[in-house]
Amino acid sequence: MSKIKPPVNSKDHCQGNASAPIELVEFGDYQCPHCGRAYPIIKSIQKKLGNKLKFVFRNFPLAEAHPYATHAAIAAEAASAQNKFWEMHDIIFENQDRLDDPHLVHYAEKIGLNVAKFKTDFEKPEFAEKVENDFESGIRSGVNGTPSFFINGQKYNGDWEETHFLLYLETL
């Protein structure tokens, strides 16, 4: 079984209880339809598991197949500079069919970012590097498609439809 490399660390975006017994990591691509389908499932699972769950998102954009995926990923990272990573992550997944640059700026505005700062941050190499590093960590961890999930550090190859996924997580 593949292990996540490197383990979840301070560079990651985490949601929920930091010391939860279950740590769920998603490697996702903002333009991938399967990730779009997983998005509400994860939300619902987060709600149901409450503080038993910590959720982490790492970027895994397949840039050639999904031309908007990389910029969308950088946009969410840039939003993290204003502590709004998750707001950006959410609004992007909720508007997956409109992800060109003008729309990304529009979403930044909608979630209340300082747009001028967002635009400057968007161009900073550190955010593009974060996306690249996430991608490499995915490859190193054996990610072979999106979404890929790791539960407590181990790759999860099972079904992620809600009923099944929740049932599995609850047995942990």
Binding site: S2, L62, A63, E64, A65, F135, E136, I139, R140, S141, G142, V143, N144, G145
Partner: protein, 155 residues
């Protein structure tokens, strides 16, 4: 599969309608041979798309990726353009599967290559091999680990 530590047999195959690639021309570079069953099929498409995105990491290690299937050069050309691949696909087309047979990764029943990986070092020696279940995309972690191991062995 051919054993680790043995010399990778040389071959020459069409990669575009008028160009061939010969393995021995790539000496001095590491080579990843990715045998796969068929252009356009779902798992192969995902696997090659993943490798296409991983090229940067392969190149950082001085490695070239070659995809190989029994599809023809024209089929490869269309597949490659459609998926925007930036690495060569080789046509093991005539005689069909000859190179896959040479590398012991030919599926006689299906008449296709198996889903198999070889990593070859700068001197043409096989350093890693992996046969994947046909329905599973093996990812690229094993390849990167093998490339790392070649580099580490030199230190």
């Amino acid at each position: 599969m051919l054993a680790v530590g043995t010399l990778a047999p040389d071959f020459s195959l069409f990669t575009t309608p008028d160009q061939q690639i010969q393995l021995s021309q790539l000496k001095g570079k590491k080579v990843i041979l990715a045998f796969y069953p068929a252009d356009w099929s779902p798992v192969c498409g995902d696997q090659m798309a993943l490798y296409n995105e991983t090229l940067k990491l392969f190149h950082k290690q001085n490695a070239e990726l070659l995809g190989i299937s029994v599809d023809s050069k024209w089929c490869h050309l269309a597949f490659s353009l459609d998926r925007k691949f930036h690495f060569p696909l080789l046509a093991d087309f005539e005689p069909k599967g000859a190179i896959a047979k040479l590398y012991d990764v030919y599926d006689e029943q299906e008449g296709e290559c198996q889903r198999a990986l070889y990593v070859i070092d700068e001197d043409g020696i096989i350093r890693w091999n992996y046969l994947s279940p046909v329905g599973i995309n093996p990812g690229a972690d094993g390849i990167l680990d093998a490339l790392d191991a070649i580099n580490n062995a030199k230190k």
